[in-house]
Amino acid sequence: MPQYAAIIYASDVDPTRPEATDLMKDYDEFGAGAQAVIRGGAALYPTATATTVRVTGGKGGDVVTSDGPYAETKEALTGFYLLECADLDEAVKVAARIPGAWDGAIEVRPVVDFGK
């Protein structure tokens, strides 16, 4: 069965902070309800903790690190789920139940199957 990454772009909060308790409860609820199709995933710390790495001049060039993501946007990448669904319609139905969809957006993308 095909797999989809449901990539969450939503408000940039720290899921370990007490303020996120209600949100995490929503995520727990989603996780329990969608258990049958969730194959993996991760929640990320806020973009303030991110480091962006680039190698200038292509392979073997200088490593340049910078603080945070390179673009300031209202919606940040906060995590993702790996879903196994029969087709796009089913994946979209599941994605619509991810709490991040309510104040942000979920990008649903097919995962490449490189075979065995």
Partner: protein
């Protein structure tokens, strides 16, 4: 081409769409099915005019197309050193219900909301309309290479993201059908503004939807709406090719048969929506009010305004309110209408809002009409309409 050749070409095109719909299900790929059907169609066009049309043209095309698809799959498997996946056999005389279901699947896949509107329009014309890529490109005024790329990208998305080949469930159907209808109506409007080939394609697609879903008010309303507007086509342009406003059209040139058919469809649509109005049916009812009036001055404006009120109950947008105001101007005069138009929010970038202000201000004898006209032109009012308004208001920008 000869008359007989034309008839064969038409038959092949009509059957080709149905054969394609079945082949997509059998092969599981729009791309492969398209290639296979095209091959079968080319062969039919070569042999049928010479040898005569076979007794079961659809079956002939189905078998030939499947044959080709099997060949392609085998060749591809051999190239990759893999085992070819078996393909289900086709029934050469499929029952009408299964043909209908396959066509419905094709409709809902081509107009899937996960595809961009541009992609939906291109796919609908290519697969459901049976136009070639070159014809679709010409119809949409795009280079053929651009269109080919757009179609390829859309088919790739259907395949890799697994957009299902399925008719939506009963609870999803209304919203999905509304999406299909808006795609077809968009094609019609592209054609209505001049490219009549597209309007004809949209009418064909709307007829197809009604034949597939004869009880769905959205399908009935859409077909009624496009027929009632298309009926005015012979009078919509003057000898020089400029658009003629509804108020000045020669109504004797309207297509009476299309109007009759459209009005009957409105009736059917209304009977199927006793409690909740359907936006397409109601818009068609408004078009019918215009089409049935023997002269512009004899239009039943009370009826038109009432239908707009019904439309607002399901589709309250500033544009609908603007159109309603135009009817109010005819019934209650320009100052009542101008008050309504001026009260509409968020239309300052909409050329027709400025154009309608220009018209109403002109009727009130206000010199500000010219300013409104200038704003309409700045925001992109089509040149022919701008020229028309300018002639009415009686000013030349060079003076």
């Amino acid at each position: 081409m000869t008359g007989a050749g034309d008839a064969v070409a038409r038959l092949v095109r009509d059957e080709g769409v149905r054969v394609l719909a079945t082949l997509v299900r059998v092969t599981g790929s729009v791309d492969l099915a398209e290639d296979a059907v095209q091959d079968a169609v080319v062969r039919a066009l070569e042999t049928w005019p010479r040898d005569g049309v076979p007794a079961n043209p659809r079956g002939w095309l189905l078998v030939a197309a499947r044959h080709r698809a099997v060949d392609v799959v085998r060749r591809e498997a051999k190239r990759l050193g893999k085992e070819a996946v078996a393909m289900p056999v086709v029934e050469p005389s499929p029952d009408p219900v299964s043909v209908r279901d396959d066509l419905l699947r094709l409709v809902f896949t081509c107009c899937h909301p996960a595809l961009s509107l541009d992609a939906q329009v291109a796919l609908a014309l290519r697969t459901l309309g049976g136009l070639s890529t070159a014809e679709v490109a010409r119809a949409l005024l795009l280079p053929e290479a651009t269109m080919a790329k757009r179609l390829t990208r859309a088919k790739q998305k259907i395949a890799t993201a697994r957009i299902p080949y399925r008719v939506p469930s009963a609870e999803e159907l209304p919203s999905r059908l509304a999406g299909v209808a808006s795609t077809v109506y968009l094609i019609f409007n592209e054609g209505y503004t001049g490219r009549s080939g597209l309007a004809a394609e949209a009418v064909r697609l709307a007829r197809l939807l009604v034949s597939l879903m004869p009880d769905e008010p959205t399908a009935l309303g859409l077909l009624a709406l496009v027929l009632l507007q298309d009926a005015r086509r012979p009078a919509r342009f003057d000898a020089a090719g400029s658009p003629v406003l509804l108020s000045s059209q020669d109504r004797s040139r309207w297509d009476a048969a299309l109007i009759k058919e459209g009005v009957e469809l409105v009736g059917r649509g209304l009977r199927r929506t006793p409690s909740v109005p359907n936006a397409y049916v109601v818009q068609a009812a408004i078009a019918a009010c215009h089409d049935l009036a023997p002269a512009y001055e004899e239009t039943n404006w009370d009826a038109v305004i009432s239908w707009y009120d019904v439309l607002l109950s399901v589709q309250d947008t500033p544009v609908v309110r603007l159109n309603r105001a135009a009817a109010v101007a005819e019934r209650d005069g320009p100052s009542a209408a101008l008050a309504l138009v001026d009260g509409l929010p968020g239309l300052s970038d909409y050329p027709w809002w400025h154009a309608s202000r220009a018209e109403l201000l002109h009727r009130l004898g206000s010199p500000v009409a010219l300013e409104a006209l200038a704003r309409a032109e700045e925001t992109g009012l089509p040149a022919a309409h701008a020229a028309h308004l300018r002639a009415r208001i009686g000013s030349d920008p060079l003076n």
